[in-house]
Symmetry: C2
Subunit: 242 residues, 2 copies
C-alpha cells in the first residue's frame, strides 16, 4: 500500500481522474482542482489488503479511483456481512461518526484517493457546494440501504440472486442495457463475497445460479462471465413477481 503526494503529479492528478465527473469531486470547479489535489493523496491497495478496520477511529474519507473494494461488518465469531461493493468514483467513509461502522478491503488491486477529515473540513468550508454534495451522496446511499434491508429481511434466495444480477446490469454504462434482449458482464467478486453480500451461503449462491442457467434465464462462461438471456424475467424474479 503506497501513498504519493509528489508536487509534479498534483497539478493534474485530479483533472485526469476517472472519478472526476461522477464522484463528489464534481462539486469542485476545474480551476480549483489543484486545491483538491493538495488536500488528498493517492494510494494503491493490493488485492485482499484491508485499509479500513471496522471500529477504528475514522480519520479519512476515500474515493475509489480505480479497481474495486468491498465493505463489510463482522460478528465476533467471524460471520461476515458484506454491506456493499464500491468502484470507480464511489465515495467511502460516510458511515462513520467517530469510528468506522464497517471494514473495507481491496477486491483486486485498487487505487484510492484519501481525504483526511481535516482536509475535507477545509474543502467544505471553502466550497459549500461540496457539503451539499456529501449530503446527496449520503441520501443516495440511504436509499440503497432501504432496498438492501428489504432484500435481506424479506426476499428468497432466488429473489436475492436475481436482484443482485439486476444491480450488476444497472452498473453497466446506460446504453448497454436499455432494452437489450441480452446483457453480458463479468462478476468481479468470488462466490463467497456474493454469498456474504446476499446473506446466503456459497452453496446456495452456486445452486441458484445453476438453476437460473438450467432454466435458460442466464448463461455462465468460465466462473465469472455471465450473460443474462432473459432480463425481463430476472427482473420479475427480483421484484418477487414469480
Amino acid at each position: 500500500m503506497t501513498s504519493s503526494r509528489n508536487p509534479e503529479e498534483i497539478h493534474d492528478r485530479c483533472s485526469h481522474c476517472i472519478g472526476r465527473k461522477h464522484s463528489i469531486c464534481s462539486a469542485i470547479e476545474d480551476c480549483d482542482l489543484a486545491i483538491l489535489a493538495s488536500e488528498s493523496s493517492r494510494m494503491t491497495v493490493p488485492d485482499g489488503r484491508s485499509f479500513i478496520e471496522e471500529g477504528s477511529p475514522a480519520h479519512d474519507f476515500f474515493v475509489v479511483t480505480d479497481g474495486r473494494v468491498k465493505l463489510f461488518t463482522l460478528l465476533p465469531d467471524g460471520r461476515r456481512q458484506i454491506t456493499g461493493f464500491a468502484e470507480g468514483g464511489d465515495f467511502l467513509g460516510l458511515a462513520a461518526s467517530t469510528s468506522y461502522a464497517f471494514g473495507a478491503e481491496a477486491l483486486g488491486t485498487a487505487v484510492l484517493c484519501r481525504f483526511p477529515h481535516a482536509s475535507m473540513q477545509r474543502l467544505t468550508d471553502r466550497f459549500p457546494n461540496l457539503e451539499h454534495r456529501l449530503r446527496q451522496e449520503a441520501s443516495r446511499e440511504l436509499s440503497l440501504m432501504q432496498a438492501r434491508l428489504t432484500l435481506l429481511g424479506r426476499k428468497t434466495a432466488r429473489e436475492r440472486l436475481a436482484t443482485f444480477l439486476m444491480e450488476r446490469i444497472h452498473l453497466l454504462a446506460p446504453p448497454c442495457h436499455a432494452n437489450a434482449s441480452q446483457v453480458e458482464f463479468d462478476l468481479p467478486m468470488p462466490r463467497t463475497d456474493i454469498a456474504d453480500y446476499l446473506g446466503l451461503t456459497i452453496e446456495t449462491v452456486s445452486r441458484v445460479l445453476s438453476a437460473f442457467k438450467r432454466e435458460g434465464l442466464i448463461n455462465i462462461r468460465g466462473i465469472t462471465h455471465i450473460t443474462i438471456m432473459q432480463p425481463e424475467r430476472i427482473s420479475a424474479i427480483a421484484e418477487g413477481l414469480e
Copy 2:
C-alpha cells in the same frame, strides 16, 4: 391529519419543541427560531395513518416532535420490511432522491414538523451549519444501517430479538441503563411490527420472547411491558456470543 401555521403559535413553537435540543434544529441559534418556525408547519397524524408513500415524489422533510412513526418498504405481494422506528427528535426524509425510498405511518398518534425541500434549501443557504448537521444525521443513520444489514443477513432469531431489546434499552434516557442490573420499558409497537423489523414472523418473535422469559432473561407483564432481568446476557446473545 391537520396542519397549522397560524402566526401566534409560530413565534415560540420551536423554542418549546421537544426536538429542540436533539433534532437537527439544534444547529440553529435561539435568536433565529422564528425563521425556523416560519419555514415549517406542524401536523398531527392519527394512529395507523400513512403520511409518506414509498416511491412518491419527495417534497418534504419531517421531524418527529411527539409520538412515534414506523418506516417501511413493501414488495409487490405485500411482504413488508420495517426499516426503522422514529420518535421524538428524529429526522425523516434523507433516504430519498427525487422520490421517497420508504413509506411511513404513525404508530399511535404522532406530531410532526414538516419542512418542504424549498424551505430546507433556504435554511441551509442561510445557516451553513445546518447542512453540516444534515450530513451528520445521514452519517449516523448510515452507521445504524450497517448494523441492521448484519442483523438481517447474518443473525439468528434469538440474536435478532436480543439486539432489538438492547436497542430499546439504549433509547432510554442514559441514567436508566448505566450499570443497572435490571431495566424496564414498554414496547410501543405490536409484535407484527417487531417481526417485520427483524425479518421474522410474528410466531417466531413470540416464541423467542417466551423462551427468554422461560430462561429468566426477561420478564413480560401484559403484552407490552418488558423487564430485562439479565442485561449482560441479553447483550451477549445480541453480539452472537452465546
